[in-house]
Each structure stands twice: as C-alpha cells, then as structure tokens.
C-alpha cells in the first residue's frame, strides 16, 4: 500500500509541516550563508559586497550576481591554517566518538540489564546534568582541573603525584570535557535499542551452546548496531563543529574548525571566509550522514 492511500487528507497536510520547517529554518538561512560566502569583504555594514537590492532594478541585480566569486573558497584550500583546522576537528571528533562509544556502550548495556523499576532512575541520572547550564558545567571543570583545583588536591593528598599537574589547556582536558558533555547523547540511543531487545534471544543463544560472551557478540551487539549508528552520528557531527569546549579547555596552539570560524567572523570580520568555512564543514558532515543512510537502507532491503 502506498503512502498516498494510507494517509488521510489531514494527515497528508500535516506531513508537509516538516518541509515548511526545513525551508524556513534551514534552506533560507543556508541561502544567506551561501550568498555571503560568495561575496567579498568590505569595510561596511554589513561587512561584505555586493548587496542584493531592488533599488537599481534588474540591472542592479545582474551586476550583483556578476560580482559573486569563489575567492573565499580558494583561500580555504590555499592556506594550511584552514586545512589543519578541518583535520584537527575530524581527528578530535573521531577520537572523542570512539571514547564515547567505548564508555557509553557498557553503561547503556548495564542500564538495560537493570531491573525495570531501576531503569527509570538510571535514565534520570543520565539526563540530570542537562538541568544545569552547559557553560556552567564546563566552568566547573575548569575549576576542578586548574592548578590548585580539586583534582590536583586529591592527587597530591593521595601522594599519586608530588607536584600539581598541568591539566588545563591540554588535549586531555578537552577530551574529558567532550566525553563528559556528549555521553548522554551516546548512552540514550544505545540504551533504547538494548532495552527493547528480547531476553528470550539470549536464552535461545545459550540453549544453542553460546556462552554469554559469544551470545553478546553474535546476538546483542549486531542487534544494537542501529543504536550505535545513531549515537555515533549524534556525537560525531556536533563535535566536529564544537567551539566552546576546545576554546575553554584545550591549549591555543591548534584550533578546531569552530574556533577558526569564530576567529574569522568576530576578530577578522571576514564574513565571506567564515561562511565558506561553514559551507565546507556542512559538505563534510553530509558524508557520514549519507553513509549511515545508505547502510540503513541496505539493512532494510536485506530484510
């Protein structure tokens, strides 16, 4: 049966809503950004040229179109700074996502194995940090990690180190911050797939001679791959564009793309380059999404 026949008329009308949303809040802003990325910087308000307007009529519009160029994009590939930023963003996102998966999977697994009435409590515990502002939580980490912060105090008191360790402004601090902040986004989709798995499948596996470990690898894990994919995307994509955590916790010797973008936009007032950076980032991020989509579709077709 096709979608057309099963949806009633109001339902069909309602199904248009997400498209309107997408056009208003994604495509239109995207058009603005794209246009700015094709413009030139100018000491003006707004700080780029040309401007599209109807004051000079059709001829004015034509002239504005003619003034658009790919200069900003050429700049991105010609300057190592930008390529390095993209590279660092991808590496940081990959490493963080791997850490998140390694930490989040066992937690989600343990949550799904809890007695039913405790699962809700565990879920609350995962979500509770969201009740405090993200920025405040990162500042709290700065407090903990600084020279005479809680962490160093504990390490010194336990005689694990003899002198305070430099934690702040290191990659370790940044990874800690990222893993801490994104863990719920990894745990929740994993928990959702693991919790709905039928326990009888594990009994069947055991009955057929699979030890608990084998049953996990042959049954539980493959059946949770949908959740793994969702968790990985949910973490990887925003981490690539992460700005606050690397800015506050990492050192200043290398920058992630979000930081570079901020620099171009606010310090250099180079809106066209900042926009070009954003557009290339978007193009890069669409790749994993497409891969995920392709895999999902293949999994569905294989059914």
């Amino acid at each position: 049966m096709s979608a057309r026949t099963i949806f009633t008329r109001p339902a069909r009308r309602a199904s248009v809503a997400p498209y309107i949303w997408m056009v208003l809040f994604f495509l239109v802003p995207f058009g603005f950004v794209l246009k700015i990325s094709l413009s030139q910087t100018a000491i003006a308000q707004p700080p780029y040229l040309p401007l599209f307007g109807l004051t000079d009529g059709i001829a004015g519009l034509k002239a504005a179109f003619a003034a658009l160029s790919l200069d900003s994009f050429w700049l991105l590939v010609s300057d190592n700074l930008y390529i390095a930023s993209y590279g660092r963003s991808l590496v940081v996102a990959l490493v963080s996502t791997a850490l998140l998966l390694a930490i989040g999977y066992p937690i989600a697994y343990a949550m799904a194995r809890l007695p039913r009435r405790w699962q809700g409590v565990a879920m609350m515990l995962v979500i509770v940090p969201f009740w405090t502002s993200f920025l405040i939580r990162i500042y709290a980490w700065i407090n903990i990690l600084q020279h005479d912060g809680l962490l160093n105090q504990i390490l010194l008191a336990l005689h694990i180190v003899s002198a305070p360790v430099v934690w702040l402004s290191t990659d370790s601090a940044m990874y800690l911050g990222i893993v801490y902040s994104y863990l719920p986004f990894m745990i929740l989709p994993l928990y959702a797939t693991l919790a709905k798995q039928d326990g009888a499948l594990l009994e069947a596996a055991a009955d057929l001679g699979a030890s608990r470990l084998v049953a996990f690898w042959r049954v539980t894990f493959p059946l949770s791959l949908g959740g793994v994919g969702a968790g990985v995307l949910l973490c990887f994509i925003p981490i690539v564009g992460e700005f606050v955590i690397p800015d506050l916790l990492a050192g200043s010797d290398s920058m992630m793309i979000g930081q570079t973008l901020w620099l171009e936009f606010f310090t250099n007032k180079d809106w066209p380059v900042a926009s070009a950076l954003a557009i290339v980032l978007l193009a890069l991020l669409i790749v994993p999404l497409l891969v995920y989509d392709r895999l999902q579709r293949r999994a569905l077709e294989a059914r």
Binding site: D198, A200, L201, E203, A204, A205, A206, D207, L208, G209, A210, S211, V214, A215, R218, V219, P222, L223, A302, R303
Partner: protein
C-alpha cells in the same frame, strides 16, 4: 547423510550403554518445585523419562509446563528437588553446556540472521567443520520443508514458517534431550499431521529423547509413548495414551482428556466383580469393579461417547448390558462421526458418538427419535467422586 555420532559423539554413542549398564532413566526429575514469589508454578514434581522415549506433557494453560521445560533447559533454577540427566545432577551445568535443546514457545528466532544462519547458529557454536554445517543445515531445511527460504530473515516468514525454523534450529544439534514447547501450534492441520509423522520418524531414527508440550490431545496421543497430564504444577497422571484414555486416574483427568459422560452415583451392591450403582438421572447401572478399592460409596461413572450404542428397540441379548431409554435432542454431524445428545427418561443427558459407516444413511437417528442407549459394564470407568 551424517550420523548421530558426528556431533556430541560421547553423549549419543554412550547413552544406550549407560542405560543398559544402570537401570537409570535418561532424565529423572525428583521432587522439583519452582515458586514465582508466593505462586507455586511447579509443585514437588517427580518424573522419569527413559532414553529414546517420546514424552508429551499435557495440561491446561498456566499449569507449569513451560516452567518445567525451562528448568530442564537450565533457564530457571528449581527451588527444591533435583534434576538428573544420565544419572548426574545438572543443577550446576549452565544452559549452554547442557546436551539439551529447546524449541521456544515464541520461537525466539534471531531477527538479524537469515533462516540458514539461524539453523546454523548452534552448529557453529559446536565448532563443526564448514561442509558439515552446510550439509546439516540443508538436511534440516529439507526436513521442515523450508527450501527456497534459506536467505529470508525471520520477519519475512509466516507464523508457521517461523515455527519450522525454530524446530529446525533446535533439532540441528541433535541433542540428547529435545524439549519442544508447543512446536506445531501454528501449523495448519495438514502440515501439522505431516510434521508430526516426520518428527516421530526423526525421533526413531536419531534415538533422541523428546519431551513435547502440547495443547492438542490428538497430537499427544498420536506421537507420544507416554503422556504426563499436569494440573496446578503437579502431575495428575503419567500413562500411555491408551491407559490415559481408557483408564483415567481421576475424575479431573477423565474430563480433561477427550470427550466423556460423567454421571454421579451411589454404590448399592457389590458382588462378583460387579457393582450396582444408583446413577443420578440414569437409573440402576451395572459396572465393572475397579482394581483400586473405592474410598466411599459415592462414586462417579465415566463413559466415553463412542462406547455407547443406540438402537430403536432394546437389544435382544441384553444380558449384562446396561440399556437406558431416552430421546435424541441434538445431532452433530462431524464427518466420520455423528454425536447425538440423548435425554434419558431418568433425567440425565448422554453424549453418544456413532461412526457414519454408510454414505447414504437413510436410517440415521433424527431429533425427537425415541432410542435405547446401551453399553457393556466393562466400558464404564468407576472413579472416586
């Protein structure tokens, strides 16, 4: 063809020897109980099953059949009692190490694996060589008639097809003891009868011991060497199909297994292995004395509908036969049989089943027909009330 000794060589090859050496059943369930909270699902149940036996468990829904099987497979731990397999207590043996396989009531097929990989799952765990696995899977697929569906995933199968995959998967490892929880419930009648025959064939060929749970009494009667009837977590009777049907141990069993007429009565006279009974609504009847002494004079007579005959006039050789007059009030035509409801002149109602031996039965009894119902004393079972 591969032989049973290819997989689990010790278990299967040695089983008959052990049985011969010690008069020990393959499976001994000894006073096993299982409680869920305050509810007792299995209550001090004892049962011996011989190697190579085909054993069926019958019983109403919720009487503990699945719980018993799950304890045998190792998924539930008994609260009391022992389970011995080949004479050894298997309490400490983990499910994946027991030479027991189970076909689950809701199949529990692996949704991410194809039919072929579902069936091969247990064989891969047994680390069989690849060609052997392929051969065994092909054999199982042929056995349960799933040819052509090997690559499908479980959610692309019908209920009956899923059931057959589950059966094939449990059989593939050729366990010492195979537990089947309502294996054929979702099959249509024809396929079910074919699968029954094939299961019996297979069971004989492999010598595997089968314990099957079923709601279908005909199925249990057809397939099983012995049947255990459960009620409220206990075994009410363990007997061959014929014993169970012809000599039920209690009034409850008599009513549960097959169709039966139950008439309450009072023993008035007892001599020469005959009882004279004043039956409620059926007059004075003469019946055979039961082997076990009766606890009281108040009894219950149980007689199967097909043991009663009907005729328009009283049978001439009425010597020793019970004949009671009545009127046909209902006729149910079932093809091979017709079931007549006869309202006796004394008040009770009897169900009588007669074979439809003639195609054009011009002489059949109609509603309102006055008849005489008669049966021999030996065809009636006397049960304590």
């Amino acid at each position: 063809m591969t032989t049973a000794t290819d997989i689990l060589p010790d278990a299967i090859a040695e089983a008959p020897l052990i049985v011969a050496a010690y008069p020990m059943p393959l499976l001994r369930v000894d006073g096993v109980s299982k409680k869920f909270g305050a509810f007792t699902a299995v209550d001090g149940l004892s049962l011996d099953i011989q190697a190579g036996e085909f054993f069926a468990l019958l019983g109403p829904s919720g009487c503990g059949k699945t719980t018993l099987l799950r304890m045998l497979a190792g998924f539930e731990t008994p609260d009391a009692g022992k389970i011995l397999l080949d004479g050894e207590d298997i309490a400490a043996v983990l499910p994946h190490q027991r030479p027991v396989n189970m076909m689950f009531q809701n199949y529990a097929l692996f949704p991410h694996l194809s039919v072929r990989d579902n069936i091969a799952f247990g064989l891969k765990r047994a680390a069989l060589p690849k060609p052997e696995i392929a051969a065994r899977v092909a054999e199982m697929v042929a056995l349960v008639k799933l040819g052509g569906l090997e690559k499908r995933k479980p959610d692309q199968l019908s209920g009956g097809q899923k059931q057959r995959v589950a059966l094939a998967r449990a059989l593939a490892r050729r366990p010492q003891l195979l537990l089947l929880d309502e294996p054929l419930a979702a099959l249509d009648k024809k396929l079910r009868e074919e699968t029954q025959a094939e299961l019996m064939e297979l069971q004989r060929r492999l010598g595997t011991t089968f314990v099957i749970v079923t709601h279908d009494q005909d199925e249990a009667m057809t397939m099983a060497d012995r049947i255990g009837v459960m009620k409220d977590g206990r075994l009410e009777q363990v007997a061959t199909p014929r014993q169970l049907y012809e000599a039920p141990a209690s009034r409850w069993i008599a009513g549960f297994v097959g169709d039966i007429n139950l008439i309450e009565g009072e023993v008035t006279l007892q001599d020469a292995h005959r009882l004279t009974v004043a039956a409620a609504g059926a007059g004075m009847l003469t019946v055979a004395e039961p082997k076990a002494p009766l606890p009281s004079r108040a009894i219950c007579l149980a007689i199967r509908p097909e043991k009663i005959r009907l005729s328009r006039r009283a049978p001439t050789s009425a010597g020793g036969l019970n004949s009671i007059e009545g009127v046909v009030t209902e006729v149910g035509y079932l093809g091979g049989l017709s079931v007549y409801k006869v309202q006796l002149d004394h008040g009770a109602t009897l169900r009588v089943a007669l074979a439809n031996t003639n195609r054009l039965d011009v002489d059949a009894y109609g509603v309102g027909q006055k008849v005489v119902a008669w049966f021999a004393p030996d065809d009636c079972v006397v049960l304590p009330r």
